[in-house]
Symmetry: C2
Subunit: 450 residues, 2 copies
Amino acid sequence: MSLAASSPNQLTASEMLAMLADDRISARDLVAACLERIEARDGDVRAWLAVNPQALAEAERLDALPRQRRGRLHGLPIAVKDVFDTHDMPTTYNSPLYGGFQPAADAAAVDLLRAEGAIVLGKTDTTEFAAAGQDARTGNPHDLTRTSGGSSAGSAAAVADFHVPLALATQTGGSTIRPASFCGVYAFKPSFGRVSREGMKLYAVSFDTVGWYGRSVADLALLASVFGLDEPLLLAGSQDALKIAVTTGPFHDRLEDASLEALATAAGRLREAGHQVHSLDLPADFDALDRHHRVILHREGQAAFRNLARRHGTLLHDDFHHRVDNRDRTTLTDLREAYDGMALARIAFDEIATNYDVVIAPSAAGVAPVGRKPGDPVFNASWTLLGVPCLNVPIDLEASGDQPLPIGVTLIAPRFADSHLLAHASRIAEVLNAKAPGIKNVRECRGSRP
Amino acid sequence: MSLAASSPNQLTASEMLAMLADDRISARDLVAACLERIEARDGDVRAWLAVNPQALAEAERLDALPRQRRGRLHGLPIAVKDVFDTHDMPTTYNSPLYGGFQPAADAAAVDLLRAEGAIVLGKTDTTEFAAAGQDARTGNPHDLTRTSGGSSAGSAAAVADFHVPLALATQTGGSTIRPASFCGVYAFKPSFGRVSREGMKLYAVSFDTVGWYGRSVADLALLASVFGLDEPLLLAGSQDALKIAVTTGPFHDRLEDASLEALATAAGRLREAGHQVHSLDLPADFDALDRHHRVILHREGQAAFRNLARRHGTLLHDDFHHRVDNRDRTTLTDLREAYDGMALARIAFDEIATNYDVVIAPSAAGVAPVGRKPGDPVFNASWTLLGVPCLNVPIDLEASGDQPLPIGVTLIAPRFADSHLLAHASRIAEVLNAKAPGIKNVRECRGSRP
């Protein structure tokens, strides 16, 4: 696919930046192409809760900026999940309690991207508070009857449907990786604690992580670099052939055929390409991690939603009262055990993962289900709890039908091996997808909303 | 001291609530008395960065509220450290970059207290971003040439000097407990993760904790209950005689005479009162916790201040560039080791502390030093890292001079034993201070500003 043949909104972020750098395109034309795509498609897809009315003016301002004052993301259109504060657009968290709420400042992550010249095209739909309650209305661009996943529904769909090349997301259970698998885009959830969450709606302090979507590994690495995640962890240098472990994790029985096929296909293609592929069984006590995740999630959610429960009563969705009232009836001893189990498993998993360049696991139970529910987080929550970097790679399956629904696999590395994971992911993605990721036919897709 | 003999601002929060409940005082008169005290004293003390111009009107609104609609903190004046967002007063973090900054919403902790009827009298001075950079201007009410400690300088001084009965603070190193020791007030830092930090300036995600000051243990317990921290951890019920461990911690050599005397006096009085007092030596590897704390603090601060460094350049205090540029030159392997050391020490300390009802340690190296520096955090940082609840109890020493400077000791319990710690602290405070805590002479104190 040559660049000239595509409309500009179909380019990856890295391609856009290259064209902006040699004046082959202006930020204004790029933003205009993205807005046109949004206008044409978003009545069906519903990725956006607000589009920035100042985006074109901002692009013109950036176009006029002398070259030496341009940032690393100069002129690049991005989407922001509507759980990050923005000073110039409402931030609703998709909650009826926050209709039209206008923060005074940008969240730290948004501020940094804007300081580097990115243009926020708008705010994308999300499961309420990136947690529970009200589902996002976003449809899956590959089949509008299906979910684009949750909670980062709109961000994943906006990237899959060529509205923007990059979008900010968050992950507390599976909120970044799972929508990427459902929508056929690349996604990165960095190691825990390495990107500021200031100005973000908080849910669980031990898990909430800023992540992002792109249509290439290079684009994921671009934002990682801006966030300072290009710093190497001093691991043993990897050989030409990667040493890869494949695991279904402890919930093998809940995997559907599509995810099993994705894992098997990934393993087969990587072996054919000359990499070492091993099967990995996680220690038996890793079965408990999903339970630990839920205990911590709901107890930290208890703290997060306490003020809203007190102030708004039944106007707050009952899911949040569930957390505040501790309806799981966990004790503080359960909580301490969950934290300690998490801490020990983080150490244990790092020891295992250090034996490999990359661990590969399912990104979701299967393809996107029909409806708008976010989907089962069981294949993501344990990795979130472990605090390890995770990267979704879409995989083209040789399907029986013409237009298979997207599916991905998760690449995982030890904590703080973010830059290594991105480097290996680039090589792995080339092997898994000889062609562009599975978003090629999306423009022709015409489902109807449920 | 009978209630009638005191001016209302000298009452504890619990006393105020009792009087408000039987209409012996109105919220308006209470707020007026506090504002009068602030007016009289704050030119010297400089605890406040902003006083709420709507406080009296808010008190009148609350006075008019039918009894059944009154909250648990109905009519109670409180102070809020200026790192918590307030929708109706500027939030500056004591940073020149945020002069006059006006957030759109209250921080979650502030919102909850207000939903229960508390009246925010204003915002108190703090070390910049509760981290480093610019010191608070607040003087110690007991001797204005001295620091009231940092970072929660203004909140501690406002409670010590009878401006308000309760004040919100935060702790990332020693920012709640140390100022309490210097100012002679009670302070509580709950177990990590149990009070929402939403809408707070973030520094280190593994440590930042909402805490508060009061002039009695009962007042600390009052806010703890509002924040849901009155839930018991199922520990073995304690006997009539408490089992208490006293430790200087690993930094014995840095303790000054006043802190050594405070510890010895506490141990002596508790023994005399019939409690079992043991000397506790922490495991040798606890020496490393302070170093782990610094590695994590500065690396998490790197993420926290990255956007400000990028946007403001040299207008941002160099202390924050220090974090962003990683001038400590720690590696990501150091960071992983620090996290793992923290995780294992949390488990190990809980095992030790569960053998006692309370562990007692120094709250600071000694009394408040001259100047405005926040003071050495080494006697607090390891407890913050361990995530355990900490409570400062001021202790009246039989001093040679008339007006000794305040000093306190820290009571510590295992993680999530917050309600037990508060219950034991109440008994211990009675033993340590036959009289009211060491704030009795503050009105007569007349130092001059340095």
